[in-house]
């Protein structure tokens, strides 16, 4: 679907844990026509300060409703958090390329780091009926869960936490390695989204084990539609850049240079 610009009514907007907000909006077309891994470009108000939109992954959709989950980092997300049910928020989307679904015989492993879980939530909705899939999530501690504990449970998400306050004590990539060991005899495909160090660790694991993986990347954006060249990420082969908004945000992990300074 070609992207559209929609003023969407906010159905609810609540803080689910410190500085993490869930906003449900009513769209005309975006929710029903988007695919897992795509994103929306969100205007933070009707003015021009801050100037740019904020890219946010499309979370779980239900009919015309779409869920955004975001962390308040700076001024733009602060303004988004202040918006109330009944007000309107302006979205441009759906934007970017979705995750490619696994082939018939493949087992999907979803690996989220913190707020990076969002596109994996909608991906898991697509997969759960039909495909064997395992959903891993790394967080710093139990009070920084990006989604409510109920949803973690419902979706059967296996959690790792840095401090052991929830689930496995350690990194989500440790969980990933044991999962890969368990599934040694199966073809697997990894779907990742999270902070750069996590994505880099996944890449190392995938290279070592020759497992295919797609990861979603985050870089600052201007237009969001491939017109301005702001969102460049270095190609793995070094010959130039790819655009996160148009060629991504989901990339084959082997196509992009994830060394620090490559993507940011």
């Amino acid at each position: 679907m070609q992207p559209v610009s929609e003023a969407c009514e906010i159905i609810s907007n609540t803080e689910t844990s410190t500085d993490t907000w869930e906003m449900t909006v009513e769209t005309k077309k975006i929710a029903s026509e988007c695919k897992p891994g795509q994103f929306v470009h969100v205007r933070t108000g009707s003015g021009f300060n801050p100037f740019l939109r904020r890219p946010l992954s499309i979370g779980p959709c239900n009919g015309n409703r779409l869920r955004l989950i975001f962390i308040v980092r700076g001024e733009g997300t602060r303004l988004l958090a202040e918006m109330q049910a009944g007000e309107f928020v302006d979205l441009v989307g759906p934007l970017g390329n979705p995750y490619q679904l696994p082939d018939n015989d493949e087992v999907a492993i979803l690996v989220g780091g913190g707020i990076g879980v969002v596109p994996l939530l909608i991906l898991s909705d697509y997969l759960s009926q039909e495909k064997e899939n395992h959903f891993l999530l790394g967080v710093r501690s139990h009070d920084l869960l990006p989604v409510l504990p109920d949803e973690i449970e419902l979706r059967g998400i296996e959690v790792a936490s840095d401090d052991g306050s929830i689930g496995f004590k350690g990194l989500v990539t440790n969980l990933l390695e044991s999962k890969l060991n368990d599934l040694r005899d199966r073809s697997v495909r990894i779907y990742g989204c999270g902070p750069e160090p996590m994505t880099r660790a996944i890449k190392e694991i995938c290279m070592k084990r020759k497992v295919p993986a797609q990861v979603s990347l985050e870089v600052p954006m201007g237009c969001g539609v491939g017109a301005c060249q702001s969102c460049a990420v270095l190609r793995e082969d070094g010959v130039g850049y790819l655009l996160v908004c148009k060629d991504g945000p989901v990339f084959d992990i082997n196509d992009v240079d994830l060394t620090p300074g490559g993507s940011s």
Binding site: F48, C223, C228, L234
Partner: protein
């Protein structure tokens, strides 16, 4: 109300254009923008050789505006002709090719390749990009260099030529005069200011390239001064570029002497802005008894 405007014997449906580099090659926004609201578009600058662009991050926010350090990333003229020309919205609106280069020869080569192929309305010569080390900015401050480029391009094309100048100079009037004397049909004022922003937590610049081009609302007063100063000395039409986000901003530029109005960064925030801005300008006109938008050009009372 008549929103059309004529410049150098060419008529434009509206005074609104898109600023180079903010609207790609015209196809990226096609599901979001109504071309009927535009008098024309200016493409992302095209150079002779492909350019990968600068090290990321390439965009950041600061002081109510944005800074970009794209570095003129573009596929180069040959690839552009092979892959992009067919996407240009030539049937929908006027298209102006923005051309950039390091030398007179670069500009000539790009224009030469374009002369025969596509039905574009003209060229915008970008002699003012702050994001490339060679060419670009140094050329932008050098009257002789600018004049040489314009004169050379003038000699090989009958098409409309606008010359896009930098605000990073002490006095715009002599540069404007030089560009017009060399044969420019119009001037585009202005490109971005050189700016910089720092992440004090990381103690690093926010841009991979350290400095970049500062655009958006904070650029408006600077652009307005340059448009007005240039309009005092040259007779060719002026295309304003710099910080316009609404109809009133656009009216300011018309009053100061601009005939064309390039929407740039605002397209990122509000891709619907051409339609909105046009409505806001029409509203102004009906409130002020303006029948033809062209009446406002240079109508400032000083």
């Amino acid at each position: 109300m008549n929103m059309s405007i004529t410049m150098a014997e060419m008529s434009f449906r509206t005074p609104l254009l898109t600023g180079s580099g903010t609207f790609g090659y015209g196809d990226e926004f096609k599901s979001l923008v109504d071309y009927n609201t535009l008098g024309g578009i200016v493409t992302k600058s095209v150079s002779l050789e492909p350019r990968a662009g600068n090290k990321p991050p390439r965009i950041c926010e600061t002081s109510g505006g944005i800074i970009n350090s794209i570095g003129l990333a573009n596929p180069g003229v040959d690839s552009f002709i092979a892959n992009k020309v067919s996407l240009l919205p030539i049937d929908e609106t006027r298209v102006f090719l923005s051309v950039v280069g390091n030398s007179v020869e670069d500009f000539l080569a790009v224009v030469d390749k374009f002369e025969t192929i596509a039905d574009i309305s003209g060229y915008e010569l970008n002699v003012s990009c702050p994001n490339v080390k060679r060419g670009g900015l140094e050329i932008g401050g050098d009257q002789d260099a600018v004049a040489a480029i314009v004169k050379a391009v003038r000699a090989i094309t009958k098409r409309f030529i606008s010359v896009k100048l930098t605000p990073n100079q002490t006095s715009i009037a002599p540069m404007a005069q030089a560009a017009v004397d060399a044969g420019a049909d119009a001037l585009t004022l202005v490109n971005t200011l050189i700016g910089m922003a720092i992440d004090t937590e990381k103690q690093r610049p926010l841009l991979g390239n350290v400095t970049g081009g500062f655009s958006g609302p904070p650029l408006k007063p600077v652009a307005l001064a340059k448009v007005w100063q240039a309009a005092q000395v040259v007779d060719v039409p002026i295309w304003a570029s710099g910080g316009m986000v609404n109809g009133i901003d656009c009216i300011e530029f018309l009053l100061a002497g601009a005939s064309g109005l390039q929407l740039g960064s605002v397209l990122f925030t509000d891709p619907f802005s051409p339609q909105r801005v046009l409505n806001e300008m029409e509203e102004y006109c009906s409130h002020h008894g303006v029948a033809e938008i062209s009446e406002l050009v240079g109508a400032l009372k000083v």
